[in-house]
């Protein structure tokens, strides 16, 4: 079975974010690049399925990123993925969700797959739209916001998080799932994993190599950022004064109850 995990390289989540006013894009230089934290849950989910299925199951990392990000992709290999496919092409710069989804779909189709696992969103643009778009271009069922995942042969069972609870969903492979942070606790790469990852293959392909037959860069983007604003500063919170912990807790519960939050 071929499991593919899509990942994104993002600026360090703890670093201060800056927007370049001329391009209206996030400044990615001068900030450490890391693996999108949400994608680590997708990698962990894939590795757990592989460990359970055994046999010839493989986990391949797929990303659309500049080749300079190779060392970041290696972290995914250090966690235990078998190999990686990087689509690195200057012509992909500035691609929007559509362009990225289309390019990834073409590359994934060319590579072959049974299951694609994605994180729910990235920490940089946070649109959360990619998994859905990718499933569409792959022409397979897309099960998003999954918090529990089971695979029995080609029968996939999942629990999808919803606003009010969760829904049980089942489908057959091939399929795409996006997983939430509640699905697992991503492993840290072991030292042997880190050393072993140096010998694993990271195939680097141009858009043409990957079978992307349409332009996808900034010129081809179907969305445009027209304006950017800093969100208003968060207002001051309400502070409850209370004589002791019980009285304080009572006040907080009352406050939440009035707003029907509990």
């Amino acid at each position: 079975m071929k499991i593919l995990v899509t990942v994104k390289l993002v600026p360090d989540t703890t670093a201060e974010k800056r927007i370049d006013p001329s391009t209206k894009r996030l400044v990615r230089t001068g900030v450490e690049t890391v693996l999108n934290p949400f994608d680590e849950y997708a990698i962990e989910a894939a590795l757990q399925l592989k460990e359970k299925a055994g046999g010839d199951t493989t986990v391949t990392i797929v990303t659309l990123a500049p080749e300079s990000g190779k060392e970041i992709v290696r972290k995914a290999l250090a966690m235990g993925a078998d190999d990686a496919l990087m689509i690195s092409d200057p012509a992909a710069e500035g691609s929007d969700v559509w362009g990225t989804a289309y390019a990834l779909a073409q590359a994934i189709k060319k590579n072959g797959f049974d299951l694609v696992i994605a994180g729910t969103q990235s920490t940089d643009s946070t649109t959360g739209e990619l998994p859905g778009a990718l499933a569409e271009y792959l022409g397979v069922p897309g099960v998003t916001y999954v918090r529990k995942l089971d695979l029995d042969g080609t029968a996939l069972k999942a629990e999808r998080e919803t606003d009010t609870g969760y829904a049980k969903v089942s489908t057959d492979l091939p399929a795409l799932v996006s997983v939430t942070k509640s699905i697992n606790e991503p492993r840290y790469p072991s030292l042997k994993g880190i050393m072993g990852a140096k010998k694993k293959t990271i195939a680097v392909q141009t858009l043409a190599d990957a079978g992307v037959d349409k332009p996808i860069g900034s010129d081809a983007a179907r969305t445009e950022v027209t304006n950017l604003e800093t969100p208003p500063a968060r207002g001051k919170g309400q502070i409850f004064e209370a004589a002791d912990a019980v009285a304080g807790a009572t006040k907080i519960v009352e406050f939440l109850r009035e707003r029907k939050l509990v």
Binding site: G30, R74, K75, L191, G193
Partner: protein
């Protein structure tokens, strides 16, 4: 394409010069892995382990699974990292506790290293993979009660008897002794035992060998989360295959110590960083005379001096690490690092204690624990005095001892 002008690096009080940026990406990954492990597994429990004076033996398996045991050795189930990565791992472990770093140092550098460097193929196959997994714990028997800085005066002997050797004597201050499954023991062979006789040789002695027993040293006020023991050999018969074939002089144990000391010169920085971090946080939140004590000039000076010594120590460690990885390291380089970094780390911990006031003496904060631990680190694996004299000899060409 837009261009961005270089901007000053973001000033991190824990690494103002961003010295960790000099590490390779896998070295940084190893740092993060070890740091996360200590955060998850050690920090929540260490005060309790220290107070009760226990080393949780199951931790060996977890450290093995992570790949930390014998991590810089090649093959036989070891991860094969750079020496710098090994140093970084020691730093992160010791930021949690010197006792746990000591466990890893002894296992990797003092027990596995001699088997790896001087052992027979059979010895390597029998012990290294199990030790790398943490299934077998090792210890290193060199020091004796009467022979610390001068180990070549050791009294433990190995007498040849037919095809066997018979060990007699005792070793003291042996980390991991009481929990060890195997001991690498150094003994002087009898002068009339034939070729290479009279030399100090290493022996691989499994726990449970008749005539070999251990006794833990109790009532320690330092390294309490680490086991320290005596090893006793009384008419202890081992086959000739127990001898480490690759070395027949004091060079054997001394080379092991150089490996372990290398880890210590990094480790001490971890302990110091933890105390500095605790002092910095405390100073910013502790209010006296209606303002945080971090507002006072004396406190600021203490913090700045601590930071400077930490950064200088890191520069030293990184430079020595690169010499190790290039294969051009000399034992004197390790003496420079061990002498400076442990001495300064202890000074930083003591200074941190003054910032924390009374809180600094409780196990609620890591400071007194690190401080007490470093009292051992200051003298074990070569006292500050001996390292000073090694360097004195390197500078003047005149040996002040031996």
């Amino acid at each position: 394409m837009s261009t961005t002008l270089p901007r000053p690096t973001k000033l991190d009080p824990l690494d103002m010069l961003d010295l960790d940026a000099d590490f390779t990406s896998d070295e940084r990954l190893i740092r993060d892995t070890v740091r996360d492990f200590t955060r998850r597994r050690i920090l929540p429990n260490i005060a309790d382990w220290f107070e009760r004076g226990v080393f949780p033996k199951e931790l060996a398996l977890e450290l093995g699974e992570l790949g930390l045991l014998g991590m810089h050795l090649d093959g036989y189930g070891c991860a094969g990292t750079s020496g710098t990565a090994y140093g970084i791992a020691c730093r992160e472990l010791e930021a949690a506790d010197s006792g746990l770093r000591s466990f890893v140092s002894v296992q990797g550098s003092l027990a596995m290293f001699p088997i790896h460097a001087y052992g027979s193929e059979e010895q390597k196959r029998e012990w290294l993979p199990r030790m790398a997994r943490g299934e077998a714990i090792g210890c290193f028997g060199l020091t004796e009660y009467d022979h610390g800085s001068d180990p070549s005066g050791m009294r433990t002997v190995a007498r040849r008897d037919g095809g066997d050797y018979v060990l007699d004597g005792s070793k003291a201050w042996i980390t991991n002794g009481g929990v060890a499954d195997v001991a690498v023991v150094w003994a002087r062979t009898n002068p009339d035992d034939g070729p290479k006789s009279g030399a100090v040789r290493g022996f691989v002695v499994p726990a449970g060998t008749k005539g070999f027993s251990t006794k833990n040293i109790e009532r320690k006020i330092s390294l309490r989360a680490s086991v320290t023991s005596e090893l006793l050999f009384e008419n202890c018969r081992v086959p000739a295959s127990a001898i480490l074939p690759g070395v027949a002089s004091m060079r054997g144990p001394l080379s092991c110590l150089s490996e372990a000391r290398y880890g210590i010169l990094w480790g001490a920085l971890g302990a110091a960083r933890a105390c500095y971090e605790a002092a910095l946080e405390y100073a910013k939140t502790r209010v006296q005379f209606d303002k945080p004590i971090a507002s006072f000039q004396l406190t600021q000076q203490k913090l700045v001096d601590m930071m400077l010594e930490l950064q200088k120590g890191q520069l030293l460690a990184t430079a020595i690490g690169r010499l190790k990885d290039a294969g051009t390291i000399a034992p004197q380089h390790v003496s420079m690092g061990k002498l400076n970094n442990v001495r300064e780390a202890l000074a930083i911990c003591r200074e941190a204690r003054t910032i924390l006031g009374a809180s600094g003496i409780t196990l609620e904060y890591p400071v007194i624990r690190h401080m007490n631990n470093l009292e051992s680190v200051l003298t074990y694996e070569g006292t500050s005095e001996v390292h000073t004299l090694i360097l004195g000899q390197a500078l003047t060409g005149i040996g002040a001892f031996s």
